[in-house]
């Protein structure tokens, strides 16, 4: 299986989970998610992943360490996320990894690359703060790469 087709299978798995979550009115527990897409989920397991409620909105984040195609959903709607590289400083050759989204488009949030850190969650919370009483639309899931 090529990388691309593996990713496609993976994406379909994630979509199936999303449909299930929507059908149950967002009250998906982590165990029911696991049952729905067990193979894909276990392949994706990353200790930085999260699923919780923040300011009344369900935020869910899944990291993609291999390809940087991280996935964030807010109230079940997909947020377009892009991973970018930024210079540490003009005097350093080092770069760091950050994430931006279709909603916080000009505010890169550093993505901690070690386990159990919360860069992607910070991004999701900034987006919730910005949304206020709004929800994401279909155009929030803009294809970045």
């Amino acid at each position: 299986m090529t990388d691309i087709s593996r990713r496609d299978v993976f994406r379909h798995g994630a979509a199936a989970v999303l449909v299930t979550a929507t059908a149950f009115g967002y009250v998906t527990s982590s165990s029911s998610v696991g049952r729905t897409g067990s193979r894909e989920r276990s392949a994706a397991a990353d200790p930085r992943d999260f699923e919780e409620v923040y300011k009344g909105k369900k935020i869910k984040g899944e990291h993609d360490r291999a390809n940087g195609q991280h996935r964030v959903h807010i109230n079940g709607r997909k947020l377009g996320v892009a991973q970018v590289q930024l210079p540490v400083s003009p005097t350093s050759t080092e770069t760091f990894t950050a994430v931006i989204s279709t909603v916080n488009h000009f505010e890169p949030v550093p993505l901690d690359e070690t386990n159990n850190r919360d860069g992607l969650k910070k991004l999701a919370k900034i987006v919730v703060d910005q949304l206020g009483d709004q929800e994401l639309t279909r155009d929030a899931d803009h294809h970045h790469h």
Binding site: V84, Q85, P87, N104, F106, Q134, L136, H142
Partner: protein
């Protein structure tokens, strides 16, 4: 040939003419109407055909120059006297002063994070948001909560950088004028102004806020200022050629169909006052 003026120096008639032309373009139902510009900005945020045309690349400046020019030409179709104004945020730093007055761009969002309540773009009946990552149908701003406005010395520092851009020609470029102007490197003259206005201006659909065009007009003016001291010729853009997946000086800027080199010397089309 047009003269692009400081928004703070516009007459009442110039302001109302600009607003009327923008609203006419919004009301147009076919062709390249206002929402077409919003959609194009969204579509060209990321990689298209392997190229980052619009953002996080050397072509950030020429792409937005052409984007603005196409919008300005569309406005001139309604009123040939209209030119894009620029918002000089090093001088006009108030949420209630120019250009955020009720006779022009209007003010802040209600409660600091909601719909704009004053001016010609307040409320969905006056200015309906149709194409957006978020569900509000009225224009939103959340001014001065995040981001900040650059100072004149921030601008001078960027203007003093003589190299246009450097490899890897992206947000990761650790030198060059372009990344400092765009925002991958401090002092970030462009991105943090989007964040300072907030609301739609912070989003991928930022052209929904007409102040987008005043901000980017100022960014274009600063590039022009840099070119005035260093040259409008193709040698002052980089890369010159043969860098795959980066828009070289003789490559075409999608979706406009013009080359980077044709955008460099704008002085036959418009100048800045």
């Amino acid at each position: 040939m047009g003269t692009r003026k400081n928004a703070a120096a516009l007459t009442a008639a110039e302001k109302s003419n600009f607003v009327a032309a923008v609203k006419a373009l919004k009301a147009q139902t076919t062709g390249r109407n206002y929402d077409w510009f919003v959609r194009v900005h969204m579509n060209y945020f990321g990689t298209v055909d392997g190229h980052n045309y619009a953002h996080m690349s050397p072509s950030f400046l020429p792409w937005h120059r052409q984007f603005l020019l196409e919008l300005e030409n569309a406005l001139k179709g309604f009123n040939p006297a209209v030119d894009l104004p620029y918002w000089n945020w090093t001088a006009n730093r108030s949420t209630t002063g120019a250009p955020f007055t009720s006779d022009f761009m209007g003010g802040n969002g209600s409660g600091g994070n909601g719909s704009v309540t004053s001016g010609p773009f307040a409320g969905a009946a006056n200015w309906r948001i149709n194409v957006s990552a978020t569900s509000s149908t009225s224009l939103r701003r959340a001014m001065a909560q995040r981001g900040s406005l650059p100072t004149a010395s921030d601008v001078d520092g960027v203007m003093s950088v003589s190299t246009y851009d450097v490899s890897p020609w992206s947000s990761a470029s650790r030198s060059g004028m372009r990344n400092r102007l765009e925002g991958g490197l401090a002092p970030d003259l462009h991105g943090r102004v989007h964040n300072w206005i907030g609301g739609h201006m912070a989003q991928i659909d930022s052209p929904n806020d007409p102040v987008f065009f005043l901000h980017h007009c100022n960014i274009d003016r600063l590039w022009s200022r840099w070119q005035t001291s260093r040259g409008f010729d193709a040698g002052r853009y980089a890369p010159g050629g043969n860098v795959s997946n980066v828009v070289d000086v003789n490559e075409t800027l999608a979706p406009f169909g013009t080359t980077v080199s044709s955008t460099l010397d704008h002085r036959g089309t418009y100048t800045y006052a």
